[in-house]
Amino acid sequence: MRPEKLTMCAFGPYAGKTEVPFSDFGDHGLYLITGDTGAGKTTIFDGIVFALYGEASGSIRTASMLRSDFAAATEKTYVELVFTYRNQSYIVTRNPEYMRPKTRGEGMTKEAADASLVYPDGRVVTGSRQTTKAVEMLLGLDRSQFVQIAMIAQGDFLKLLLAGTEERGKIFRKIFDTGNYLDFQRELKRRLLDTERMYKELQRSVGQYAEGIVLPETEFAKEVQVLRELQQQESIYHLPEIAEALQQLLLADQAKEAEREETEKALEEQISVLQEKLGRIRMVQRMQEEAAQKEEQLPDLLQQESLCAVRQKEAEQKQPYAEERLRREHALEVQLEQYKKYSELERRIQKLGEDRKKYDAYLQETAARRQRTEELLEEKRRLLQRAETSEQELKLAQEEQKQLAERQKELERIDQLLGWLSRQELRIRENEQAFARAQEYSTKLGVQYVEMEAAFLGGQAGILAEKLQEGAPCPVCGSLHHPEPARRSRSVPAEAQLRALAETKERALEQTRQLSEMLAGRRGKEAQCHQMLAEWGGAALAAKLLREETPKLKAAVTDNERRQAALTGQIRQSKTLKGTIQELEEAGQKLIQQQELCVQKRMRCEAELLECENQRTELGRSLPFAKEQEAKQALLELRRQREAILQESRLAAEAYARAKEQRLETSKALETLQAQIARSLSQKGSADQENPEQLAAQQGELYQKKEVLVREMNAGRVRIHTNGQVLQQLKKSAEKLSEARSRYEMLAVLSDTANGELKGKQKLAFEQYIQIVFFSQIIQEANKRFASMTDGRYLLRRREMAGNLSSKSGLELDVFDYYTGRIRSVQSLSGGESFKASLSMALGLADVVSQYAGGIQIDSLFIDEGFGSLDRESLNQAIQTLAELAGSSRLAGIISHVEELKERIEKKIVVNRGTSGSTVSFS
């Protein structure tokens, strides 16, 4: 990986666009990056790292802080790096996330982090994370590895050299990713602890099982003794012995159990024999007691029987009373039928009375209705009579109407004539005026014509004179000389004018004549009209007549019409009236019929009622009780008395039968019992001699024995069951324990080895062992350079043994001094020597890292500061070393502000700090 050109814009201390053309420094040798502290020397390296990985070189220089504080608001922050890798050229561009002013409007907006990588074949990868991944794939290094190889920074120098095992271990873990090995160690340890815990739990459970063994209190003294002693001790270590002893105990217990069962059976048999004997004795006793009881009862029963017999006889004597009552009952039952008839009659009488009332009411109503109908009929007939007079009145009215119409026509005629006359008069007046105007006009035209004719004739001389010429004869006078020809008057009318006027005059005369004729005609017509009006006494009287008569006539006509309409209505009504009258007459007829019918019905009803009342009186006389209810009660009473007598008799008979039966039963039972007792006694003659109390005592003893035995058996069974289970558990646990133990032992060796905890051995953990391998390789690489830097005086060596076995060790560094042949601590080296040693170590580390990253060749590296502490000689040697290091294929940039280096190194990048950001110059 070789950077060719770095472009930074608004990045870190660089406000504007700054370009660093690394390719100008060639492909090998040294160049110096110099400038004031804080001007941005290291930023150049940061730029490269940021472009590749999106993070700066130091962890403090976070990506979001990378935008330059000097940058103009509109300036974009980005870094572009052109680099070659395996002779191919790549371009990576990247910008950090930063706040910039909005392009439109006020305020700030966030520019998101972005990046892209352009491959030599033109392929492009975009996106911040994707680009970082692509770069990692390409170079085979992650950021921390790259920084470690490409940059040997100020702080790392001494840290790497002087760190103890612990600290160096951490550094290696980060760079070489030895965390896996540490995880492995820890996993082993964790499993070891788990197994240990499990083992202890098993131990505890074994103890619990052992304590759970049930020991018999009295039996098997030998086995119990053994077990008890074992229980006292730690049970786990005597597991087999405990199991064996328990096994023995179990076998003994089981044997004993069988024995006990036998004994129990024998006891049971004895008890049942005794039980039987006792049972028989007790039965005889019970029978004897019963027989005695019955004997005692017998006399009482006999007495009872005779008493009942007496009572029964008494009851039988009352029988005739009952029969007498029965007879009376029958008589009463017959009479009860009559009561029914009686009440029926009463119901009938009531019904008939009600019917009669209904008929009366109906008759009354019918009479009222008949009267109303008569009245209505009267009224209608009156109305009909009046309607008949209306027809004559109508005829009169119609006549009157005709007269009125004639009169109306006459008046219309007068109106017409008067109207015509007034119009005629108006026209005559107009005609007279027109005639006067025409006459005047015609006269005026006559005068005008005379005047114009005179003027025309007078003007003829002037016209002639105009045509006169000297020497030519005058048409009038023939004179050849014309000393004073007549002058042409200016207003001489033309001949045409004269003729037109003559025509106009003629037309006016004609019109005058026509008007005169028309006037004469109209006057004739007016006279005719007056003549006609003379019938009504002339125009004035006729007009008056018209004025007065017209409204009167109109009123009379209206009145007549109204009267006629009313009369017509009445006449129309008379038809319906006739219908109504007929209907009413029919209704009246019907009512009369109904009335008659009702009167007949009422008479029939009355007759029946009388009949019924007679019957009732007769029947009432023959009945003993006033009411049926009373008769019924008397009947019930009779029945009750009769039944009481019968009941009494029945009960007495039953009581007697019962008493008799009871007595017979008792004496029969007594006989049976006595026979049984006699039989039993004769059968078991020997049983008699045995004392029942003695037998019971014997039985009680046997029961007690059995109880003890059963208790023992139960205890034994529980014990056998429990101990059997314990034995099984113990065997199982023994297996598990031995499993766990062997697993623990196996794990213990592994874990102790991996974690460096083997007793009596060096405290070397697995991770450390791996780190030591790295460390040794680094030392080997470092020594190649360190030897030449110190003229072969020193050799770095890993300290083989720690101060003691108990502390972690293996990553300490010593130095072998050939001059003295002694090994001493690196801390004893002088400042210059320390620089050399640490530079060697750093380079060695870089070599080893690149080896493990698949032989990555970093063709360009940076060395940051660390030269300040060197004396002149050491500085020379350091530069020489660096120059050699750069050799023919590497380009090494030294970042330093040490003056002497500026003199010694030709190629330089000078960083200048300015008030508005830093700038870069090259030389």
Binding site: L188, L750, K761, I779
Partner: protein, 98 residues
């Protein structure tokens, strides 16, 4: 080696190369007794810098093999089968998690 010592002027500014095959204790101190102006000391035979352990090539071995070697080195005997199986299981499990 008195003849060698006397072959040079003791006041000379010398570049000395020692050919001893054994380590020489305090070589510079003893030389300065004779040649106070000695400028440089070299050794014909370089000291070995490390033990065989450091020759292990890490990248060529699996972590399991490395641990097996480490186990032998620390204990003087090899892991049994159960232990090997366990180590294998842990590494494979770790590999899955990673």
């Amino acid at each position: 080696m008195p003849e060698v010592v006397q072959s040079a002027n003791s006041e000379d500014y010398l570049h000395v190369t020692l050919t001893d095959e054994q380590e020489v204790l305090d070589a510079i101190g003893r030389l300065r007794d004779v040649y106070p102006n000695i400028m440089r000391l070299d050794f014909a035979v370089r000291q070995k810098t490390g033990t065989n352990q450091e020759k292990i090539r890490l990248e060529e071995k699996t972590p399991q093999e490395l641990f097996a070697e480490f186990f032998v080195r620390q204990n003087g005997y090899e892991m049994n089968e159960a232990q090997q199986a366990l180590v294998k299981e842990i590494w494979e499990k770790g590999g899955e998690e990673a």
